[in-house]
Symmetry: C2
Subunit: 109 residues, 2 copies
């Protein structure tokens, strides 16, 4: 007979957030799950930056950076402001820092 764990399953399931929330959560983390985007976020720790500066920093095309910034914007991790032709990107809030800091703590052990 296979072993039973219906009681445990019920307890655990009752604490589990709904699927939509968990999907949002994993989507958020997957935004952090790319080297290019992590580098962009880390750069913005120091200062707001325009797209072409980020591209130059990471030695990547403007297009690639722009595509990634779009994802970061949609995840509400960065915001932008226009100044003439230039668009400056900056961190949306402090969660970015704390999430990345927690991640750094984990890998530095």
């Amino acid at each position: 007979m296979k072993h039973d764990h219906t009681k445990l399953l019920h307890d655990v399931d009752s604490q589990m957030p709904d699927d939509e929330t968990l999907a949002e959560l994993s989507e958020l983390f997957s935004v952090f799950g790319d080297t290019t985007r992590i580098k962009i976020l880390w750069a913005l720790f120091e200062s707001e930056m325009c797209v072409c500066a980020i591209a130059e920093l990471l030695k990547m095309t403007q297009s690639a950076i722009s595509h990634q910034l779009k994802l970061l914007r949609h995840a509400k991790l960065v915001n932008s402001r226009r100044e003439g032709k230039t668009i400056y990107y900056f961190l949306a809030d402090d969660h970015v820092r704390s999430i990345i800091n927690q991640g750094m703590e984990h890998i530095s052990e």
Copy 2:
């Protein structure tokens, strides 16, 4: 003339961790960036669980869960212990909770 930002780039670059660290960091976050794995981790918040219980909880095959647990193990987010035929998985440390909590804070705004 294109606009210049060599000074900024130098400053930002000097604060940037090395590529290897940033790669590790993004790999860590990409482990959180999947619904199945987030569900597994959330389940383990409540209690250690054996593989077949997790599979039953998430209504997925044992194989799929086992593959994901492997990734979680390699990221050092979970550990396991054997008890007879059964293998119990549990959270490796408290970073898992704090990272997920920070993520939850961000999406619930």
